[in-house]
């Protein structure tokens, strides 16, 4: 593993009101590492994720991204076009609601091909081939390639969203509750898929979830947030098996076991 961090986050603050948003968050993310951000609703997880993925300018703090070319980029001093370029080439963003991340009006194949077309691919045959490859990689039926995502089930939409993001071979993927709203069996399949893709593609992932089981399965390191602040960080197993902060203890003990 490279010693150069992919993402260097320093004292990021974005507050909508006192304790609403995220305050003073710092961490490093290394290539191939999966970082989980857990906490209750309203704890600032999603705000933090938006800041990290250059979709929401923070009030203060800095984020540096180390790109493929080896440059260290200060995210919020980049032009908007460079930010977008990063978002569609080196990054992926998987939204909680697939509808936010997909173009519902065009076919599944076009959804997968969009990023490639945006980065200059102009060969239909190649686009088609890549779309088919990714359909099967995320366990979608290739016969559905020309159907619109509106005709897909929730789980299928989520998998399509993942394919659409991974098609440009990003190095860093931001995921906001990717399994939220899915039933348990579909969730399990999606998690298996994610875990496989993350290992195969050596992806770095920042995953926001309120589901500790998801965090334990995917994340190597955890950040626990509460009321906009980081209350505990550490290796996932360490944090979940031996929680130090009172809130983390509460969180861990609140998990229902059937």
């Amino acid at each position: 593993m490279s010693t150069q961090p992919l993402l260097q986050v320093r004292e990021i603050t974005k507050l909508y009101a006192a304790n609403k948003g995220c305050a003073d968050v710092s961490f490093d993310l290394y290539p191939g590492e999966v970082l989980g951000i857990v906490g209750e609703s309203g704890s600032g997880k999603s705000t933090l994720l938006s800041c990290l993925s250059a979709r929401l300018a923070p009030d203060s703090g800095s984020i540096h991204y180390h790109n493929r070319a080896g440059e260290s980029l200060d995210l919020y001093s980049l032009s908007e076009s460079r930010q977008r370029q990063l978002q569609r080439t080196e990054w992926g963003i998987v939204h909680q609601h697939a509808r936010d991340g997909l173009r519902m009006g065009v076919s599944g194949g076009a959804n997968i091909g969009e990023r490639l077309m945006a980065t200059g691919e102009r060969h239909y045959g190649n686009l088609r081939g890549t779309a088919e490859q990714w359909m099967s990689d995320v366990e979608l039926d290739i016969d559905r390639i020309d159907d619109k995502p509106t005709t897909y089930s929730g789980g299928m939409q989520q998998r399509l969203q993942i394919a659409r993001n991974l098609v440009t071979h990003p190095r860093l993927v931001f995921m906001d509750e990717p399994t939220g709203g899915l039933d348990v069996s579909v969730q399990a399949r999606l998690l298996d898929l994610l875990r496989r893709l993350v290992t195969e593609l050596n992806l770095a992932v920042v995953i926001v979830t309120h589901d500790l089981a998801v965090a334990r399965l995917l994340a190597q390191r955890l950040i626990v947030m509460r009321r906009g602040e980081v209350v505990e960080t550490g290796l996932t197993d360490q944090v979940l098996d031996d929680p130090q902060h009172a809130y983390t203890q509460l969180l861990v003990s609140s998990v229902l076991t059937p």
Binding site: R88, V106, A118, R122, Y124
Partner: protein, 286 residues
């Protein structure tokens, strides 16, 4: 050419002078940034939106006493829309009007570019219903403007991709998106893609007016206009197996006309002036 008196109580070319200036300023900006949609304060015209109010405002802003105006609708000089707009400007400017492409200095058009190649001293004015080529995929105006600004045009190919996926070829036949001067993606108005190559490096100035959407854009003379396509599905124009039933042309854009209740049909030139000119030449040489 001299102009005859205009209808009493009206300013030359209907619009007041300040409005014409405002439109000319927008036009100058549009010419300076080929393909960029310039917002302008569109005025109410004495006819409904969708009938060519944008094109008429542009015509009113650029027309002068020495101009000779031709108006076509779907290539024809004799359809209701073309006849009324021509009559409107004859009444309110007194300038000469013509049906012949080579005589005209201004040509206001809906859905076609004349078959006869245009010259440097001619201006082609298009009536545009929806100026935004990205609208079909992105309903937000704020977002489409940003996409233009950032040259974020990946989505344009999605439409073409969907065509091929669905029909096996690029089935978009009109309003076929173009990139102007290597920068802005532009909707060429609902002209058939048959006419797209005529826009490329045209000696004539091309102005576009969208009345309802209140946008003006332009392609200056001799500007690169490229139709979007895929490497393995290159841009192609329509071809017909038939030729024009009146003049026999095999090169022009043909309209299909139903002849009777038995389903017989014929193809005729959509450009009436082109067809008439050819016919006259054939009769002369016969």
């Amino acid at each position: 050419m001299s102009s005859s008196p205009i209808r009493a109580g009206y300013n030359f070319a209907y619009l007041d002078e300040q409005t014409k200036r405002m439109i000319r300023r927008a036009l100058l900006k549009a010419v300076a940034i080929p393909g960029y949609q310039v917002p302008f304060g569109g005025r109410e015209m004495p006819m409904p939106y969708g009938w060519g109010t944008g094109g008429m405002q542009v015509t009113a802003a650029v027309i002068g006493h020495d101009d000779c105006l031709k108006v076509i609708d779907q290539g024809a000089d004799d359809t209701t829309n073309a006849v009324s707009i021509r009559a409107f400007f004859r009444d309110l400017t007194g300038v000469e009007t013509t049906e012949q492409t080579e005589e005209a200095t201004l040509i206001q058009t809906r859905h076609r570019i004349p078959e006869k190649p245009l010259r440097e001293d001619q201006i082609l004015i298009y009536q545009v219903p929806i100026p935004e080529p990205l609208r079909f995929i992105e309903p937000s105006e704020v977002e489409t403007r940003k996409m233009h600004a950032l040259e974020d045009y990946g989505v344009m190919h999605i439409k073409l991709y969907e065509d091929i996926a669905q029909f096996g070829h690029i089935a978009t036949a009109y309003g076929y998106p173009v990139q102007v001067n290597g920068r802005f993606v532009m909707d060429p108005s609902p002209i058939p893609k048959f006419d797209n190559p005529k826009m490329d490096n045209s000696p004539a100035l091309q102005l576009f007016g969208a009345g309802r959407e209140k946008r003006i854009y332009a392609v200056p003379p001799y500007t690169d206009v490229r139709s979007l396509d895929f490497e393995d599905h290159p841009f192609e124009v329509q071809r017909w197996e038939a030729s024009c039933a009146i003049c026999g042309s095999e090169e022009s854009f043909l309209d299909e006309v139903v002849m009777d209740d038995q389903g017989h049909h014929e193809f005729i030139c959509s450009d009436t002036d082109y067809c008439r000119t050819r016919l006259a030449q054939q009769e002369e040489s016969a």
